[in-house]
């Protein structure tokens, strides 16, 4: 099978150009907001919090906060990336070009993933100014970051195709992603919860992401790394299946 790499490259570059054109919103705003978190929770309140699992509270929240932003960025970028051309009608060109759905996906999701990883990296670097950070397993860390960015960019892509208005485009992230992310253990260890809530939390995929990601820093986690990895892979697989289904029917892309 021949792959239209030029098309993938064109979409990818176009999307990245959009990122750099809007560099302020794209990069600066997540960095500023997480910096505020670091100042408030890490430095100010964190001093009065006891260490979690032997990690200072300021350092404890870094992986969770990074994940939180990466999740939101992935979903926001990927959903907007594909929704916008549908909305303004420029999608006609992509549909009339000799590109497969797979190549379209790689272009858009690849760019969203890259951007999310960039933001994640910048946040981690920023956090170094506020808390003592060390990474025990850099490869795992990058792996988790990549898997998360990728699967949530896929989810964003699905949302961007499903949405038929800006309200829906914003609603899902607001109503589902943000609560899941906040309740996913960014600011606390799941083990601090009452037993019932611990059980309920296990249904939240974000718990596994944050736990695994945090493990790659401090070798401490709420669930085992293997479980984390398994759950992320499962989530990724589900997203891929949905996307495959969408492409098979041309759902919402073609009438």
């Amino acid at each position: 099978m021949r792959i239209n790499f030029r098309a993938i490259g064109a979409i990818y570059r176009f999307e990245m150009a959009r990122t750099f054109r809007t560099i302020l919103q794209s990069i600066a705003s997540p960095v500023i907001s997480t910096t505020l978190y670091f100042i408030v929770f890490g430095s100010a309140i964190g001093k009065h919090m006891s260490a979690v699992n032997g990690v200072s509270y300021g350092a404890f929240i870094v992986p969770g906060l990074t994940m939180l932003t990466v999740l939101q960025q992935s979903v926001a970028n990927a959903s907007f990336g594909i929704y916008f051309p549908r909305f303004v009608g420029t999608i006609y060109e992509v549909l009339s070009a000799p590109v497969s759905y797979f190549e379209i996906l790689v272009g858009y999701v690849g760019a969203a993933t890259t951007k999310a990883m960039m933001v994640g990296t910048i946040i981690l670097l920023t956090s170094c100014f506020f808390v003592p950070l060390h990474v025990d397993h850099p490869f795992w860390m990058i792996g988790f970051l990549l898997l998360t960015s990728l699967s949530f960019s896929l989810l964003g892509f699905i949302i961007g195709i499903w949405a038929d208005g800006f309200v829906k485009l914003q609603l899902i992230p607001l109503l589902i992603i943000t609560p899941l992310a906040f309740l996913g253990g960014a600011f606390y260890s799941i083990k601090m919860l009452p037993p019932l809530w611990q059980k309920i939390s296990m249904a939240n995929p974000v718990v596994y992401l944050i736990s695994g990601f945090r493990w790659s820093f401090y070798e401490r986690s709420d669930v085992s790394v293997q479980t984390s990895l398994l759950m992320i892979s499962l989530f990724l697989a589900i997203c891929i299946l949905i996307v495959a289904r969408i492409f098979k029917t041309g759902y919402r892309l073609k009438t």
Partner: protein
């Protein structure tokens, strides 16, 4: 002639149940300019979008250069450029980036020199660094054309390319369309300016309520359905039509300087040669001779209201 596009028994029923195309069969020859005419909502855009891969067909077959548009979509789409009816471009990008994107997504290697020539031909070269939002409506339309040409297509669909374009620009677009055809590009255009089709097209298709009601050579269509007049500009004014010519449907202009013959061009015997001989015999000499026919617009209106 070898057809570059073959549409057979094409049907399109939209999700709501509306049938936009009814058993449309059509062949487009390589290198011709084909004008697709029809009132609003006739199905022109639907037909074009199916051929280009933007809309799914319900049933029927479309071959482009002998290849099925679904099975061999990479091949067929790489041949086609589309200027859509609606202006749709990323407002925040520059002309140059937009055009480069179009070339890339159609899997063509970089070729700045070619893109430069496209932009120059469309008088957009000066604007290449401008964002689309800073261009006028006519310029944006030309950007759409530049995008469609960016990958050097062999078939070009122009869906109402001159809507909202000023007279001068329209003429220059016609010029470009002709030049493209000369370079071997097959062109299919839709338009509501019938004189545009009359000016440009080799063949005409008329579509109404999703049905293709006519496809015909432009000249044959106009011959078949149009009325023709032969006009003779005389050297000296006549007071009356000579007796010897009374057998013809002749009219004399009030100033006696123009003789007009209405005739049916589909008849083999139009009687023109005979008439000219008779005029000579009767000592009527003329300095100019020209024919006039009913416009395509008149024919079009007549067809659609049948």
């Amino acid at each position: 002639m070898n057809p570059i596009i073959e549409v057979s028994h094409l049907n399109k029923i939209y999700a709501g149940g509306f049938q936009a195309l009814k058993d449309v069969s059509l062949q487009i020859d390589k290198g011709e300019i084909f004008a697709l005419l029809g009132p609003n909502g006739a199905g022109k855009t639907t037909l074009i979008h199916i051929i280009c891969g933007i809309v799914n067909r319900t049933s029927g077959e479309v071959l482009v250069d002998g290849h099925d548009i679904i099975r061999d979509y990479r091949y067929t789409r790489s041949l086609i450029g589309l200027v859509p009816q609606e202006l749709a471009t990323d407002q925040f990008e520059t002309v140059w980036n937009i055009v480069r994107f179009s070339r890339g997504i159609f899997d063509q290697p970089k070729n700045p020199a070619y893109l430069e020539s496209v932009l120059k031909n469309l008088a957009l070269w000066e604007k290449r660094k401008n964002k689309i939002m800073t261009l006028s409506g006519g310029m944006k339309r030309r950007v759409m054309i530049a995008k469609a040409l960016a990958h050097e297509p062999q078939i070009l669909f122009l869906d109402e390319p001159t809507a909202g374009v000023d007279v001068e620009l329209r003429k220059s677009m016609w010029e470009q369309v002709r030049r493209l055809r000369e370079s071997g590009v097959t062109i299919i255009l839709t338009t509501h300016y019938i004189e545009e089709a009359e000016e440009l097209a080799d063949r005409i298709g008329v579509i109404n309520h999703g049905e293709l009601i006519v496809t015909e050579d432009k000249s044959r269509l106009m011959k078949k359905l149009g009325k023709k007049e032969l006009n003779l500009e005389l050297k000296a004014p006549l007071k009356a039509i000579p007796e010897a010519l009374s057998g013809y449907q002749l009219k004399l202009s009030p100033d006696g300087l123009v003789l007009t013959l209405a005739y049916d061009s589909t008849h083999n015997e139009s009687g023109i040669t005979e008439l000219l001989d008779r005029l000579k015999e009767n000592g009527v000499s003329y300095k100019d001779i020209y024919t006039k026919q009913s416009s395509l617009e008149e024919i079009f209106v007549q067809l659609v209201h049948q």
